[in-house]
Symmetry: D3
Subunit: 149 residues, 6 copies
């Protein structure tokens, strides 16, 4: 089982409905990480961002009353979205649509290293499909972002 | 076990030295996929691209005599690198360095679907760290690209 | 008369209503290239992409049932659009409008070279005007993309 | 008191409602610069551009009948907007909103140097906030562009 | 024969060694346009820019003593380079090399319209190949930029 | 006197050698902000970043032993550099050079508001010139970035 926040987030995103997903959740819970998994499908990049922010707030991965936490999460989302769109986060404007599963994980960079000074980080991963707005005319996509929080 | 080229490539990149990695390799071999895993660390984005192209050629994932295969791989690499650099593929110019494991997988989009007309695709995933050229001053990174070949 | 797919596509785009355009069409037909010319004017980048995709499908430049052909064309369009917008493919968001003639040509890279292994490529060129949504407040623009298909 | 068009524009943008702002306006008037200050708040990047263009025309900073002046101003605005959005000029598409004060100044590069051959330049500065569409969930932002006119 | 600066520049770039090239040069000379054609091959984007600036100065397309003319040309070159690189003007950093023919033309927007108020514009076009630093592993490329001067 | 970290940083950058600069420093000191001002001139974007990071560490604006502080500063620098380069942080690759004064300020978002939960932010501003590597062939430039720390 991996021990870093990034790998755990990426594996959770892709394997959340496999046995491995349950193992990862147990590990995250045991080590005090906050986390959530969700889905969003849209041609509107703003809706993708909003869905992830809402999931993070509703599941208390971030404190919705603190702007600095929203700011930290926002930039992690934007970085993941740059991986999904490979460049500028444009979806509808370039005639694409996405169907994504995402995971958000918050806690130390590693479950093993003891770096109390380095505090918490937040990691966002998105996995799914991108393509023309026509069934089957799409391929897989994966985006990943991380930020201090 | 997942059945799509993208998920298999991403999991192979992150889990190649776990039991899961061996399972994925067995599945890829059984289903006729070409594949390879390698490592590269550099401040020079051109070296990262060259390392992946060389690994693909040496391990016969692509036919090095056909430009169209190099062209297909090149754009998949560039897309993965955009995820790693979150935007423009710059490393040294923005005072960063990367240490990456990569996997390259070539074959049908899925091991299950029967879409002979859709031919082969090539998928590149990179996982590792990006950060200041100073030990420990780095965080995880993940990039992913896919193209028809 | 030029012999490469890119130059033929660019000249066809700009000279389709001159004598040279007819010569190019004859050459393309004689050498077995698939091709079409069309026009689109919009502030919506997605509409520009859709118009070119539709023209390619209706004129059988690509097989609309194969996703890999749509994928190959899509990235050629996007590259041409980056030339038109000089950077990110934004039109309305940066208060511009475009009036474009486009050509799409599919076949070998050259009418002269004998490279059967290199298969077919698809080339998209767009020529027209970009500017403020006000008559005469615009200048010429030219974009070009090419991809293996 | 600074003597260059860029510093005067930036200071005017940020200090227009302080005593310093009045001093800058007096200096600009004495030295024959055309100038204006305005405000715009929007999630729509096109509206930000339109507001600045309209202010420039209404206050005769540019001659609205000459496309080349609109073109010169447009690119200065776009550059300033890239500073505001830090990269691609996207606002709503990445779920942000802006509230901006802007200044536009036109004249020689410096009030001191005697470079009659270098003609006139136009400078655009924007200062304000960018953030989530929720009161207080925003931080300051500053963008700056300059062009020959 | 076309009558706009952009089309004339693009055709001159691609057809300068055909009969059409000589016709364009005659038309440009008759109508008082300044112009030049040159070649540059490099992995270094700065060398491409420098070669075009030098050609423009040596052939008096711009007055090398006036910064505003260099500034106007520079941005036209950068826009053309964005078409060549399809996005960020990177060449070596993404392991590519270019071999380009370029033309630079300066004068009114059109040989036919009578718009004395709109003054002069400068247009830069680049045509050639981009690809891996290996003979034959390249495809055609076309970039275009225009600016008021 | 302004009361927000962004405006104070921008004014300090531009007015550090005027009377206003001394006033700002007094205010920053009185309110417990950490700050520094420095200069850097280079064609190398990595050197610009390194100079600002070094100044921040040497003047204890950030704790050089904590990666999360370096990470927070790094992204603020990168955002400011995007304003300076108007897009991708490229300098030498697009044949430019910069001469910059920068300020770095760390503390609460405002000297007036009482938002203890929102913690500290770091703001980076750069002001100077960008242009061809030839004396006088340059114009002013201004970049600005802010991040939670």
């Amino acid at each position: 089982m991996p021990s870093t926040i990034g790998k755990l987030t990426a594996l959770l995103t892709m394997m959340h409905d496999h046995a491995m997903g349950a193992d990862i959740v147990r590990k995250l819970e045991a080590d005090g990480y906050r986390h959530t998994v969700g889905k969003v499908g849209s041609m509107d990049s703003a809706k993708v961002i909003a869905a992830i922010e809402t999931a993070a707030k509703n599941n208390r991965v971030i404190d919705e009353k603190r702007y600095r936490e929203t700011h930290g999460l926002y930039h992690a989302i934007l970085e993941a979205l740059q991986g999904v769109s490979r460049g500028t986060p444009q979806i509808r404007d370039v005639l694409r649509t996405v169907g994504l599963t995402f995971a958000i994980v918050r806690g130390p960079m590693s479950t093993e290293q003891d770096q109390p000074d380095e505090g918490e980080w937040i990691c966002v991963c998105m996995y799914g499909t991108i393509g023309a707005p026509k069934k089957g005319f799409e391929h897989e996509v994966l985006g990943f972002g991380i930020n201090h929080i």
